[in-house]
């Protein structure tokens, strides 16, 4: 097995034993990128030379020091909506084609402190709006399990980089499923932590009250390691929770015996691919066999989650994206007649179709005369859905659901029908609405050999429990060794 195919904790063992160097590890990923990136197109921007240079520096340092931190010298990538000083941060938009932030996202600073090695910035749907990464202004990213299929989105590039072994881990952002759905489509682990657990400072905002940064990893243990590094209070983010730091690896392997796992009919409705249903039923059986109790739970308002989500997220986006006006940075229309025309042309030319659709939707929802019927109503629904989840978690420790109704669909298959595209988020958006954590882990393959993801949800700040329940399944079924058949495609 190539070094690039290993997990973080496997590499950690090798580094501890001094069997490999950080440079060898990094070189292995750089070689892998050279071999497959032209097929997957996960990256918008590569920093491989800088990465190798950084690896050399860390090797020197590790030669002298005894203790290394778990992410020290591990190459990773960031979704291109996280600000990296001196490195382009485009949000896969023409609008920010030349934007070089003069500051770092909090998570990037954290990973610099941990000694992480940045490989580059990954492709995404423009401004994180989309479910297939097809809304990138720059390139289409391909699913390594089938290059004709989408990787999911919006953090498609981050999911693919992990699935194709072109990064040991990546960070994505999840506003309505943008980590969990691509993780599901690409057969990797993806987690959206509790809102406020990871600072949003320097994450280019899509919908501020829903956005949350989280990790993509090859297995659950790696997820715990990365989560350990990126959580924590940040005084620069007023919505960042001020809690004592946890070590999620401590409780990871405690098992699920006696735990209550909830199953709700609302997540197994119309439009669910039969193989996905079957795979989830198998997973339920696995948990039962491991000594967990399966309980039926029910929701009252879940049907309204998707509509409420598109109202709230679009309203916030319409305001968050208003600053891209061509005045101070980013794209500016070349020809214009006066200020209003400068605004109109810049924004018409700089934004893609989906972004413009959401801005218009959000602007409408906030307009005088419509506010009460749309935005306010959606906020009321939000409260009801939070209550719904609270009541559900009174009866179970975690909730088990499919991550998405289907496995990855074909490139171009849903681009002409936005509503159909929006429906792929139906199982993930309620989680952001409620602010609770969720994790997607692989649980099987469909008849075409495409990965199926299952989603585990828990109450606010239940990351420890979620990781424990996820690890137990992964450990039992051993799906973590399932690799995307990328080589055979050559």
């Amino acid at each position: 097995m190539e070094l690039s195919q290993k997990t973080i904790h496997e590499i950690n063992d090798l580094l501890e034993k001094k069997e490999v160097t950080v440079t060898e590890v990094t070189q292995s990923v750089v070689d892998r990128i050279a071999a497959v990136e032209n097929k997957t197109a996960a990256y918008l921007n590569l920093q491989t030379e800088e990465a190798l240079r950084a690896a050399g520096v860390i090797d020197e340092k590790l030669g002298e020091q005894k203790k290394r931190t778990p992410l020290e010298g591990i190459p990773y990538a960031l979704k291109d909506n996280m600000c990296t000083q001196g490195i382009l941060t485009t949000c896969a938009s023409k609008m920010l084609y030349n934007f070089n932030p003069p500051y770092n996202a909090h998570v990037y600073d954290r990973l610099i402190e941990e000694g992480g090695i940045l490989l580059g910035k990954t492709n995404m749907d423009e401004f994180a709006m989309g479910s297939s990464t097809e809304n990138s202004a720059y390139k289409i990213t391909h699913n390594p399990w089938d290059l004709n299929k989408v990787p999911g989105g919006s953090s498609g590039g981050s999911a693919v980089a992990v699935a194709a072994d072109t990064a040991f881990y990546t960070l994505g952002s999840d506003t309505g499923g943008s980590i969990r759905q691509p993780a599901s489509f690409c057969g990797v682990v993806g987690m959206k932590p509790t809102y406020g657990l990871v600072s949003r400072y320097g994450l280019v905002a899509f919908a501020s009250s829903l956005d949350q940064i989280g990790p993509f990893t090859k297995d659950v243990e790696d997820c715990a390691l990365v989560l350990n590094a990126i959580i924590g209070h940040d005084p620069k983010d007023s919505t960042s929770l001020n809690l004592e730091k946890k070590d999620y690896t401590q409780t990871l392997k405690q098992g699920v015996k006696g735990m209550k796992i909830g199953v709700a009919q609302a997540f197994f409705g119309e439009g669910l691919q039969p193989e996905v249903r079957k795979s989830l039923e198998d997973a339920i059986a696995v948990y039962k066999a491991m000594g967990a109790e399966i309980v039926d739970v029910s929701f009252q308002y879940l049907d309204y989650a998707l509509s409420a989500y598109y109202m709230i997220s679009s309203a916030e986006a319409s305001s968050n994206l208003a600053r891209y006006d061509g005045i101070r940075y980013g794209y500016r229309a070349e020809e214009y007649d006066g200020l209003v025309d400068l605004y109109k042309k810049t924004r018409s030319q700089g934004f893609g179709e989906e972004v413009k659709r959401r801005i218009m939707l959000g602007t409408y929802a906030l307009s005088s005369g419509y506010y009460d019927a749309y935005y306010k109503k959606a906020m009321q629904v939000r409260t009801l859905i939070k209550d719904d989840f609270n009541q559900v978690f009174d009866g179970c420790d975690v909730l088990l659901t499919p991550t998405a109704p289907t496995t990855a669909f074909g490139i171009g298959e849903k681009t002409s029908n936005p509503l159909e595209m929006y429906l792929t988020d139906i199982y993930t958006v309620p989680v952001n609405i409620a602010g609770i954590p969720g994790i997607s882990i692989p649980c099987g393959l469909d008849n075409n050999g495409m990965p199926i993801g299952m989603q585990l949800l828990g109450p606010i700040l239940s990351e420890e429990t979620l990781l424990k329940v996820a690890w137990a399944f992964e450990n039992e079924k051993g799906l973590k060794n399932l690799k995307a058949p990328l080589e055979t495609e050559v």
Binding site: N81, C83, A105, D237, S238, T239, E316, S319, R323, Y371
Partner: protein, 478 residues
């Protein structure tokens, strides 16, 4: 038909915090363009605001000083609109849940007291400035972006330009006292928007109003109100309807013109700011701020009357500005002659300030120096006339009064020996006066005193000189 005007006001006041409302950039005025900026106040992608706690404290203080209720729960909202001086394309403000509500300010016009209601006070951020004069076209200076403001909104309780002015001055005075703002109107720290409508005197329904924005002096406020009320009366008399609109006041030309009508008014699409958490203020916090409030103008004025036995007029003048009151109090703490100090502050100092184009805020002398000067006058070291000369010199050179007195030899001549010699000579030189006095004409004493003053260049101590003159005259008349 007799008309009455109805005026409501919105007052924007820049808070005197050291740093901006959502970042740690300094708020200092008058710096080079775009030097007090950071990614946060520049509204760059991905940055987040953090509310400056001092802003909440200052807004609470302002609210308490204006007799408002302080909300236990309030929140920030986004007011969305595009303009190049607004980097985020939204102003973070407060919409439906402001920090203060329901205050009142008592004013007095022509001896009549009246309450003006304060509807609300909310917190918001200032925008930047457009610079149109550049050869490169219009440029933006974002130094002012994110400077914290409170907006004070009144009830439509004012009925004349005079009431509007008195109210505005009173609010300025109170806020300056509380220390939440320097209220410097020439720097834009305090700006007025006036809502004005006319109605038949005695009517209860409000007429259609117009709004005039950004009046930045009391003079502009009064003139704009006078102009607009006249304009509306003319329109109404012609049988025209008043159009609800925003108007722009041109202070140079003394006229207002339509800026935009109600139909063209922007839809600001307010919604709760998701990047900030709600502002929750506990009772204890409010009590603490209340206990720390300084003495406000009304109370101070009464105390000046009671404690310093000053006439009401003096007390009113001295407390009309916090700076003047502080100057007076410091002087009186060093020299216990309140009325004398009051006289000099009211009468002697203003012309000197005016001459140098200064105000009490940047007066070049210290209260201690004034106290020292007045002591010299009281003790007879110099007389009042010299005192005024010394004060002028203090303004010019900043030197201490005793230094100036010494340098210019202004000390009064109280040395009886020296004076006796001078007076002997004067009496001898003016036999006519001696004759007149002998004939019972007391006025001749005055002439002799004048001669003594002339001979001593005004430095003779008048009391001492008078006594010696009488002695010498008595001696001569035998």
């Amino acid at each position: 038909m007799e008309y009455e005007m109805v005026i409501g006001m919105e007052i924007h006041v820049e808070l005197g915090t050291k740093t901006k409302i959502f970042c740690s950039c300094p708020t200092e005025f008058g710096q080079d363009e775009n030097t007090h900026t950071c990614p946060v106040c520049l509204g760059m992608p991905g940055v987040l605001p953090v509310l400056n706690e001092k802003v909440v404290e200052y807004a609470t203080r302002a609210g308490l000083a204006l007799n408002c209720e302080i909300a236990h729960f309030s929140k920030m909202d986004r007011k969305n609109y595009f303009y190049p001086d607004l980097p985020k394309a939204y102003q973070t403000s407060q919409f439906d849940l402001p920090i203060c509500t329901g205050g009142v300010v008592e004013i007095e016009v022509d001896g009549m007291k009246k309450d003006i209601g304060i509807t609300r006070i909310h917190i918001e951020e200032d925008a930047g400035k457009l610079l149109h004069e550049s050869a490169e076209g219009t440029l933006v200076d974002v130094n002012r972006c994110g400077v914290p403001l409170v907006e004070i909104v009144t009830e439509p309780d004012m009925r004349s330009a005079e009431e509007a002015r008195v109210f505005a001055e009173k609010v300025r005075n109170i806020l300056e006292y509380t220390g939440v703002s320097d209220c410097k109107m020439q720097e834009g720290s305090m700006r007025f928007d006036v809502n004005l409508s006319m109605r038949e005197k005695g009517a209860t329904v409000l007429g259609t109003r117009t709004e005039m924005k950004n009046l930045n002096s009391f003079r502009a406020l009064v003139r704009a109100v006078q102009y607009e009320s006249k304009r509306q009366i003319i329109e109404l008399k012609k049988g025209h309807k008043i159009i609800q609109e925003t108007r722009k006041w041109d202070d140079t030309k003394g006229v207002s013109s339509s800026l935009r009508s109600k139909e063209e008014a922007q839809d600001y699409r307010y919604f709760p700011e998701p990047d900030l958490v709600p502002i929750v203020i506990e009772k204890e916090y409010i009590e603490k701020i209340k206990s720390e409030l300084p003495e406000l103008p009304e109370a101070k004025k009464q105390r000046y009357i009671d404690e310093y036995k000053l006439p009401e007029y003096d007390a009113g003048v001295l407390t009309a500005s916090g700076v003047t009151a502080r100057f007076f109090e410091e002087a009186v703490s060093l020299y216990d002659e309140a009325k004398q100090i009051s006289n000099w502050i009211m009468v002697e100092i203003p012309p000197l300030l005016k001459e140098k184009e200064l105000t009490m805020e940047n007066i070049p002398i210290k209260p201690a120096q004034l106290a020292e000067l007045l002591k010299l006058v009281k003790d007879g070291v110099i007389n009042g006339t010299s005192g005024k000369e010394v004060l002028k010199e203090m303004f010019n050179s900043g030197k201490n009064p005793d230094e100036i007195v010494k340098e210019q030899g202004l000390s009064q001549v109280s040395d009886t020996g020296e004076l006796e010699a001078i007076i002997e000579k004067i009496v001898a030189d003016n036999p006519k006066s001696l004759e007149d006095i002998g004939a019972g004409n007391e006025k001749a004493y005055g002439f002799l005193t004048g001669q003594v003053m002339k001979a001593t260049k005004g430095k003779a101590n008048p009391q001492v000189a008078n006594k010696i003159i009488r002695d010498v005259v008595a001696k001569h008349l035998g």
